[in-house]
């Protein structure tokens, strides 16, 4: 099992969710996060005083899938979240040791 963590532009969340639904990914966890990479922050001006806002709002998606599906899922996310502009985000893949469904106690791929 692998965990895929994708940090994307917030307005792309629906596109990514639909794209993953199409290939049968049935669950995900998202959180609203802030950060910056190459996009850097933006500038706000109040009565002439300029403030740089470093951290830009992003959405983080977490999905756990069987290892065999990782490439497929990653490429779906990448396609759906792509705008071609700087700040589209990043995707990380981690190994997952175990998964347990709280209600039934099922383990491993049955739990995801």
């Amino acid at each position: 099992m692998k965990k895929i963590e994708a940090i994307i532009k917030p307005f792309k969340l629906d596109d990514v969710k639909e794209a993953l639904n199409e290939i049968g990914i049935q669950g995900m966890t998202i959180s609203e996060v802030k950060g910056y990479g190459r996009q850097k922050g933006h500038k706000e001006i109040y009565r002439g005083a300029e403030y740089v806002v470093d951290f830009i709002p992003k959405v983080k998606i977490e999905i756990v899938v069987e290892a065999s599906r990782v490439d497929e899922v990653v490429s779906k996310i990448q396609d759906a979240a792509n705008t071609g502009k700087i700040g589209d985000g990043k995707i990380f893949v981690f190994p997952v040791e175990q998964a347990i469904r709280v209600r039934t106690g099922e383990k491993g791929k049955d739990a995801i």
Binding site: E44, Y46, R47, G48, Y51
Partner: protein, 430 residues
């Protein structure tokens, strides 16, 4: 206030009486308008200014800014009735201050008249001016002043600073005798509040993190709404200062709106040019800059002059807050000095330049062949700024003594005053 108030005050020099005994007849139209105008000016403080300032203060200090504004108006309301009015409009004492003859409105009754309106209306109208003037000062020191200190400061300042200056200009004091023109409060209200704010900001010191960390306004939408309410109330402030429903009031009404609009446009385009963004805060600030500058001139200048007055005010206001403040390094948090002080000075000078005798007889400026007026205006500016600077400094020191310091402690300042002082929060948004 101008000539009628002046005439009454002069009469009082010859007859030891309250300002109510001029041989006038009540005019119902004037009275009706003045009651409405008074209510309009009232809205400027606990609604207009509270929102304007509150939206600019940080989210953790928004309610504290409201509280300071509300309490300033309430204290002003009470003090004015007890002793403020008589210090400003009581029998003249050597041109410096009003006597104590009208303490607790003694000697004024339902039949007393000031010009063509009941004195009661005049008293309340003037009270709303006292309330907003002291509230304007707090813009310089939001986010860090002790609430108790603000209360003591307000009481002392209204008594020692506002009331005498009001007497000088409108109560028959030395400035009106000298012929200074201030229709609705360029010196009394705006220069006075602006300079007092600057002194208070200098004494109290900068906010923790000023110039190093970003200090975001809590809500520009609240500030813009506040500016609109100020604009609305300002019709009562300026057109009401004629103390009658007549042609001069109409002219003041017209130039007030024109100058506000020009101020907003000028600030917006200047900022757009210099900082590449036409900000909403800039538009709202420009409205106020234009309104401040037209205030002393409202009943004296024509439409064309109001275009110039507003235009210069917008550019000057932007320069004051975006360039001058950064250069000088003081933390005038919401720019009471930058907007009210600087644009008030410009308005007072512009009155000396553009006053047109065809609008108010006897009020004649530079462009109508009376360069002396500009000189008189300059003296009135220096007199007001000088007195308020020194007297405010003394008031601050007394306040510091009474309340054991002026500033909240460091931890409360960082946590925010809404929670630590008032036990509340402005927003519950999650």
């Amino acid at each position: 206030m101008k000539l009628i108030g002046f005439t009454i005050a002069v009469l009082c020099l010859f007859f030891p009486c309250s300002s109510a005994v001029a041989a006038d007849v009540l005019n119902t139209g004037d009275t009706a308008w003045m009651i409405v105008a008074t209510a309009l000016v009232m809205v400027m403080t606990p609604a207009g200014l509270a929102l304007f300032y509150g939206g600019m203060s940080r989210y953790k200090n928004l309610l504290n800014t409201y509280a300071m504004t509300f309490v300033a108006y309430c204290l002003g309301s009470v003090i004015w009735m007890m002793w403020g009015y008589t210090l400003a409009f009581g029998p003249d004492q050597a041109g410096l201050v009003g006597g104590l003859g009208n303490m607790f409105l003694k000697g004024i009754g339902v039949n007393s008249l000031s010009g063509t309106i009941p004195t009661y209306v005049f008293v309340v109208f003037q009270m709303t001016f006292a309330g907003i003037t002291v509230a304007l000062v707090l813009g310089s020191v939001v986010d860090r002043m002790k609430f108790s200190s603000w209360i003591v400061f307000t009481v002392l300042w209204l008594t020692v600073v506002y009331s005498p200056i009001c007497h000088w200009v409108w109560g028959g004091g030395w400035m009106s005798k000298m012929g200074a023109l201030d229709f609705a409060g360029g010196t009394v209200v705006h220069i006075n509040a602006g300079v007092a704010g600057l002194v208070l900001a200098l004494v109290i010191g900068k906010r923790i993190g000023y110039g190093k960390e970003a200090m975001f306004p809590s809500s520009i939408s609240l500030t813009a709404l506040g500016a609109a309410l100020l604009w609305f109330g300002w019709f009562g402030f300026n057109a009401g200062s004629e103390l009658a429903a007549d042609g001069v009031a109409a002219s003041a009404f017209l130039v007030t709106n024109t100058s506000a609009a020009m101020g907003a446009l000028a600030w917006m385009f200047t900022e757009w040019l210099v900082k590449k963004k036409p900000t909403v805060l800039g538009i709202a600030s420009g409205v106020v800059a234009g309104l401040v500058a037209i205030t002393p001139a409202a009943g004296f200048v024509g439409m064309s002059a109001s275009l110039i007055i507003g235009l210069v005010a917008g550019v000057l206001g932007f320069y004051s807050v975006a360039v001058l403040k950064q250069k000088m390094g003081y933390d005038d948090s919401l720019d009471a000095f930058g907007v009210h002080g600087m644009c008030g000075v410009w308005g007072a000078l512009a009155t000396g330049v553009f006053a047109n005798p065809a609008i108010t007889d006897g009020a004649k400026g530079l462009v109508f062949g009376n360069p002396k007026q500009l000189w008189i205006q300059a003296i009135s500016i220096i007199g007001t700024a000088g007195y308020t600077a020194i007297a405010t400094f003394i008031v601050i020191q007394i306040t510091r003594f009474i309340t054991g310091g002026l500033r909240v402690d460091e931890e409360n300042e960082i946590l925010g005053l809404d929670n630590t002082l008032h036990g509340e929060r402005a927003f519950e948004i999650d």
